[in-house]
Symmetry: C2
Subunit: 116 residues, 2 copies
Protein backbone atom coordinates (compact mmCIF):
# COMPACT_ATOMS: atom_id res chain seq x y z
CA UNK A 1 0.00 0.00 0.00
CA UNK A 2 2.84 2.42 0.78
CA UNK A 3 5.36 3.23 -1.91
CA UNK A 4 8.96 4.34 -1.87
CA UNK A 5 9.04 8.07 -2.51
CA UNK A 6 11.78 10.63 -2.87
CA UNK A 7 11.98 12.46 0.44
CA UNK A 8 11.90 16.23 0.60
CA UNK A 9 13.56 18.70 2.95
CA UNK A 10 11.33 19.61 5.87
CA UNK A 11 11.53 23.30 5.03
CA UNK A 12 10.49 22.71 1.43
CA UNK A 13 7.71 20.34 2.40
CA UNK A 14 6.19 22.67 4.94
CA UNK A 15 6.44 25.55 2.48
CA UNK A 16 4.53 23.47 -0.06
CA UNK A 17 1.84 22.60 2.42
CA UNK A 18 1.52 26.15 3.62
CA UNK A 19 0.82 27.22 0.04
CA UNK A 20 -1.60 24.35 -0.51
CA UNK A 21 -3.33 25.22 2.74
CA UNK A 22 -5.08 28.07 0.98
CA UNK A 23 -8.29 26.99 -0.69
CA UNK A 24 -7.86 29.14 -3.78
CA UNK A 25 -4.28 28.03 -4.41
CA UNK A 26 -5.16 24.41 -3.77
CA UNK A 27 -7.89 24.51 -6.39
CA UNK A 28 -5.63 26.38 -8.80
CA UNK A 29 -3.11 23.58 -8.50
CA UNK A 30 -5.81 20.95 -8.93
CA UNK A 31 -6.88 22.65 -12.14
CA UNK A 32 -3.29 22.90 -13.33
CA UNK A 33 -2.89 19.18 -12.75
CA UNK A 34 -4.97 18.51 -15.84
CA UNK A 35 -5.20 21.85 -17.67
CA UNK A 36 -2.87 24.55 -18.83
CA UNK A 37 -4.47 27.74 -17.53
CA UNK A 38 -3.88 31.42 -17.99
CA UNK A 39 -4.39 34.13 -15.43
CA UNK A 40 -7.60 35.40 -16.92
CA UNK A 41 -9.17 31.96 -16.65
CA UNK A 42 -8.44 31.81 -12.94
CA UNK A 43 -9.91 35.26 -12.61
CA UNK A 44 -13.07 33.93 -14.26
CA UNK A 45 -13.24 30.95 -11.95
CA UNK A 46 -12.46 32.40 -8.54
CA UNK A 47 -14.18 35.27 -6.84
CA UNK A 48 -11.07 37.33 -6.22
CA UNK A 49 -9.38 40.14 -8.10
CA UNK A 50 -6.87 39.68 -10.90
CA UNK A 51 -4.27 41.06 -8.57
CA UNK A 52 -4.94 38.39 -5.98
CA UNK A 53 -4.71 35.64 -8.60
CA UNK A 54 -1.44 37.03 -9.86
CA UNK A 55 -0.02 37.08 -6.36
CA UNK A 56 -1.06 33.48 -5.73
CA UNK A 57 0.59 32.39 -8.96
CA UNK A 58 3.75 34.21 -8.01
CA UNK A 59 4.00 32.35 -4.72
CA UNK A 60 3.53 29.02 -6.43
CA UNK A 61 6.09 29.96 -9.02
CA UNK A 62 8.59 31.18 -6.43
CA UNK A 63 8.47 27.75 -4.83
CA UNK A 64 9.31 26.21 -8.19
CA UNK A 65 5.97 24.50 -8.72
CA UNK A 66 4.98 26.26 -11.92
CA UNK A 67 6.33 26.95 -15.34
CA UNK A 68 5.03 29.92 -17.21
CA UNK A 69 4.47 30.00 -20.91
CA UNK A 70 3.94 33.32 -22.60
CA UNK A 71 1.82 33.15 -25.73
CA UNK A 72 0.84 36.43 -27.25
CA UNK A 73 -0.36 38.69 -24.48
CA UNK A 74 -1.35 35.77 -22.29
CA UNK A 75 0.67 33.89 -19.76
CA UNK A 76 -0.17 30.22 -19.39
CA UNK A 77 0.84 28.25 -16.36
CA UNK A 78 1.52 24.54 -15.96
CA UNK A 79 2.83 22.36 -13.19
CA UNK A 80 6.59 21.96 -13.50
CA UNK A 81 7.21 18.22 -13.60
CA UNK A 82 10.92 18.85 -12.97
CA UNK A 83 10.27 20.45 -9.59
CA UNK A 84 11.64 18.59 -6.62
CA UNK A 85 8.18 19.05 -5.10
CA UNK A 86 6.24 17.80 -8.10
CA UNK A 87 5.80 14.23 -6.94
CA UNK A 88 4.63 15.30 -3.52
CA UNK A 89 2.24 17.87 -4.91
CA UNK A 90 0.67 15.40 -7.32
CA UNK A 91 0.31 12.83 -4.58
CA UNK A 92 -1.58 15.40 -2.53
CA UNK A 93 -3.80 16.46 -5.39
CA UNK A 94 -4.97 12.87 -5.78
CA UNK A 95 -7.10 13.43 -2.69
CA UNK A 96 -8.82 16.49 -4.08
CA UNK A 97 -12.05 16.00 -6.04
CA UNK A 98 -11.78 16.81 -9.74
CA UNK A 99 -12.60 20.42 -10.58
CA UNK A 100 -13.26 19.88 -14.26
CA UNK A 101 -16.75 21.34 -13.94
CA UNK A 102 -15.15 24.73 -13.25
CA UNK A 103 -13.50 24.65 -16.65
CA UNK A 104 -16.74 23.47 -18.26
CA UNK A 105 -18.60 26.34 -16.66
CA UNK A 106 -16.00 28.78 -17.94
CA UNK A 107 -16.53 27.49 -21.45
CA UNK A 108 -20.28 27.83 -21.07
CA UNK A 109 -19.79 31.45 -20.14
CA UNK A 110 -17.60 31.91 -23.21
CA UNK A 111 -14.59 32.85 -21.12
CA UNK A 112 -12.40 29.91 -22.01
CA UNK A 113 -11.91 30.74 -25.66
CA UNK A 114 -10.73 34.21 -24.78
CA UNK A 115 -7.33 32.69 -24.19
CA UNK A 116 -6.94 30.42 -27.22
Amino acid sequence: MTMKVEEVEVEKASALMKLMGDRTRLLMLKLLESNECCVCEFVGIFKVSQSAISQHLRKLKDLGLLKENRRGQWVFYTLDADSELFEMAVQLLMFIPDQGEKIAELEKRGLRISCD
Copy 2:
Protein backbone atom coordinates in the same frame (compact mmCIF):
# COMPACT_ATOMS: atom_id res chain seq x y z
CA MET B 1 2.36 4.59 -10.18
CA THR B 2 -0.76 6.42 -9.01
CA MET B 3 -3.22 4.67 -6.72
CA LYS B 4 -6.91 5.01 -6.14
CA VAL B 5 -7.46 7.00 -2.98
CA GLU B 6 -10.46 8.11 -1.01
CA GLU B 7 -11.07 11.74 -1.93
CA VAL B 8 -11.48 14.38 0.73
CA GLU B 9 -13.56 17.55 0.84
CA VAL B 10 -11.62 20.56 -0.34
CA GLU B 11 -12.26 22.40 2.92
CA LYS B 12 -10.96 19.51 4.99
CA ALA B 13 -7.96 18.97 2.76
CA SER B 14 -6.89 22.59 2.82
CA ALA B 15 -7.37 22.69 6.59
CA LEU B 16 -5.07 19.68 6.90
CA MET B 17 -2.42 21.26 4.74
CA LYS B 18 -2.66 24.55 6.53
CA LEU B 19 -1.89 22.76 9.78
CA MET B 20 0.92 20.76 8.19
CA GLY B 21 2.34 23.93 6.73
CA ASP B 22 3.79 24.77 10.11
CA ARG B 23 7.22 23.24 10.62
CA THR B 24 6.68 22.36 14.27
CA ARG B 25 3.31 20.69 13.68
CA LEU B 26 4.63 18.86 10.65
CA LEU B 27 7.46 17.35 12.67
CA MET B 28 5.13 16.55 15.54
CA LEU B 29 2.97 14.55 13.15
CA LYS B 30 6.01 12.85 11.67
CA LEU B 31 7.04 11.77 15.16
CA LEU B 32 3.52 10.59 15.93
CA GLU B 33 3.57 8.49 12.79
CA SER B 34 5.89 6.04 14.52
CA ASN B 35 5.78 6.98 18.21
CA GLU B 36 3.22 7.63 20.86
CA CYS B 37 4.32 10.92 22.39
CA CYS B 38 3.31 12.98 25.37
CA VAL B 39 3.29 16.74 25.63
CA CYS B 40 6.40 16.92 27.76
CA GLU B 41 8.36 15.01 25.13
CA PHE B 42 7.45 17.51 22.48
CA VAL B 43 8.44 20.28 24.84
CA GLY B 44 11.83 18.58 25.16
CA ILE B 45 12.25 18.31 21.43
CA PHE B 46 11.09 21.66 20.12
CA LYS B 47 12.32 25.05 21.14
CA VAL B 48 8.95 26.48 22.04
CA SER B 49 7.02 26.78 25.28
CA GLN B 50 4.78 24.10 26.74
CA SER B 51 1.88 26.41 26.03
CA ALA B 52 2.72 26.57 22.34
CA ILE B 53 3.01 22.77 22.11
CA SER B 54 -0.33 22.38 23.82
CA GLN B 55 -1.97 24.75 21.39
CA HIS B 56 -0.51 22.95 18.39
CA LEU B 57 -1.81 19.63 19.70
CA ARG B 58 -5.21 21.16 20.21
CA LYS B 59 -5.42 22.28 16.61
CA LEU B 60 -4.42 18.86 15.36
CA LYS B 61 -6.93 17.26 17.66
CA ASP B 62 -9.70 19.65 16.65
CA LEU B 63 -9.25 18.54 13.06
CA GLY B 64 -9.67 14.95 14.19
CA LEU B 65 -6.12 13.85 13.47
CA LEU B 66 -5.17 12.81 16.98
CA LYS B 67 -6.39 10.60 19.74
CA GLU B 68 -5.39 11.38 23.27
CA ASN B 69 -4.62 8.82 25.86
CA ARG B 70 -4.41 9.84 29.49
CA ARG B 71 -2.08 7.70 31.56
CA GLY B 72 -1.45 8.91 35.05
CA GLN B 73 -0.73 12.59 34.94
CA TRP B 74 0.47 12.40 31.34
CA VAL B 75 -1.43 12.74 28.11
CA PHE B 76 -0.14 10.66 25.22
CA TYR B 77 -1.08 11.42 21.68
CA THR B 78 -1.30 9.15 18.66
CA LEU B 79 -2.48 9.54 15.10
CA ASP B 80 -6.13 8.58 14.81
CA ALA B 81 -6.27 5.92 12.11
CA ASP B 82 -10.04 6.34 11.94
CA SER B 83 -9.80 9.95 10.86
CA GLU B 84 -11.10 10.70 7.40
CA LEU B 85 -7.83 12.57 6.89
CA PHE B 86 -5.56 9.79 8.13
CA GLU B 87 -4.74 8.30 4.75
CA MET B 88 -3.92 11.68 3.29
CA ALA B 89 -1.79 12.69 6.25
CA VAL B 90 0.21 9.48 6.15
CA GLN B 91 0.74 9.85 2.42
CA LEU B 92 2.16 13.30 3.08
CA LEU B 93 4.39 12.17 5.86
CA MET B 94 6.02 9.64 3.57
CA PHE B 95 7.87 12.52 1.99
CA ILE B 96 9.27 13.79 5.27
CA PRO B 97 12.65 12.45 6.41
CA ASP B 98 12.50 10.25 9.49
CA GLN B 99 12.89 12.17 12.75
CA GLY B 100 13.86 9.20 14.90
CA GLU B 101 17.10 10.88 15.93
CA LYS B 102 15.05 13.44 17.83
CA ILE B 103 13.62 10.66 20.00
CA ALA B 104 17.08 9.13 20.40
CA GLU B 105 18.45 12.47 21.52
CA LEU B 106 15.62 12.82 24.03
CA GLU B 107 16.55 9.46 25.51
CA LYS B 108 20.20 10.47 25.68
CA ARG B 109 19.19 13.52 27.68
CA GLY B 110 17.13 11.29 29.96
CA LEU B 111 13.90 13.03 29.10
CA ARG B 112 12.16 10.13 27.44
CA ILE B 113 11.77 7.93 30.48
CA SER B 114 10.16 10.76 32.41
CA CYS B 115 6.94 9.77 30.73
CA ASP B 116 7.00 5.99 31.10
